[in-house]
Symmetry: D2
Subunit: 144 residues, 4 copies
């Protein structure tokens, strides 16, 4: 199995709520941060995709909260691409406390690819074949 | 079936992202707004619960995005309590465009009840029997 | 002096932070909500402006916090246009607790007008003369 | 003059708005991130302050926007403590694009110190004399 490099992140004060812990909606944002970091590091840069007029909107998202992150915690987000066919992509996430001590949250997000102008679904294989290849290999690596 | 009164809400400018639509994490926040509004209107006020030292954290959440909301849209969120036993509660959400024209997003959130000080799970039946009754009736009404 | 109609708003749970009060950055967002509501109600709809390819970015903003808003509070935001010449606009804000009991926050924001495509400054008098007139009258009304 | 080490930060996708740039309220949050990072690195850890029952709320804040940050930009925030007497503190901020190429935003925030329980103002010199000393030296260093 290939070694996974997490996306590491400080918890900000403004991410807490009056319960004294991180507000649950922020983890959905962390998934996004981790996903874009993961794509960038694996040669499927989302900014480049948008520069080509291709958006990758979220079509579904879920999170299960096991332990809560607190102000000043450092969290590690492990991302995998678990499904991809050029039309749809699914990413899965595990958020751990620093040093992978505790599993805090798991989650997944489903995506499609759309043309920025027409807002129609598209197949990445047609529009960005190299990125398609990159993501196919990424999928296989993550599946090992 | 009882008539449902939605939680109605303007879309704010700062809730959009560079795709020109509402960022997906904000719908999770709208679920919260709608849930607390729904509880308040049905006699199970969450602020009163917190005043009794009881928190109702989110243990899981999911959303499916069908159409996107835009700046200046008015959205209607329909909330139902679909499971409740004093220890766990599940709420489900449907977000429509104004006039219930289009279904934009569906979602659900699972919750437990914990003591604010000890952060231990508790049974609402023991700690707030009247609110427990209210929520039990609400569950039955929503099930009709 | 003309009667002012405030923008009224519930405080959301996710707007609080671990101090138990509304996080200070959220008031800047409320200024925006109130400003856009005020423009819309006074015939200078910002959505219409954007539809014409004109943006009104913020060039400076300030806030002074006197008392803090809490979860479930209802706040009233009074907005005035205090300076406007077609090129620049200044809005001022007063946020009160419900019933105008306590002054919570005051603030102001400065804006210019730019072309959405070129991102160059423009004079609203040239591009949207009717809106320019509307805002000029608004300025005079607010100054009374 | 002492060398300043900035707080460095990626711009997240969800921080943009439909103008395609970072929403202005987010810079206020970056000031907070930078301030807490600056305090931590200079031995006046805010988390330690809160652990002692002392809060440092914001009493006023301002920002002037010169150029806008975009998705995927890396920004550098330079923080200075420019006023401090144990009762009040003022921090100033400069946000640059990566490599200090362009000045994007300047800002300041004023703070007091309050007792977490009583919410009364307090003098840090009395309650945390070592932190008071640290901040006094920091002030002098930043003034050079």
């Amino acid at each position: 199995m290939k070694e996974r490099i997490p996306y590491v992140r400080h918890v900000y004060y403004y991410e807490t709520d009056k319960m004294g812990i991180v507000h649950h909606a922020n983890y959905i944002r962390w998934f996004e941060e981790a996903r874009l970091d993961y794509m960038r590091k694996n040669g499927a840069d989302y900014a480049a995709m948008e520069a080509q007029g291709i958006l990758m909107p979220v079509i579904d998202v879920s999170a299960a909260y096991k332990m809560s992150a607190k102000f000043e915690d450092i969290v590690e987000v492990y991302t995998s691409l678990t499904s991809f066919n050029g039309v749809r992509a699914v990413f899965e996430y595990e958020i751990y406390s620093e040093g992978r001590d505790h599993l805090l949250t798991t989650g997944r997000s489903g995506h499609c690819f759309v043309d920025e102008k027409k807002r129609n679904p598209l197949n990445l294989k047609m529009r960005m074949p190299e990125t398609y290849e990159m993501m196919t290999q990424l999928l296989e690596g993550d599946r090992l």
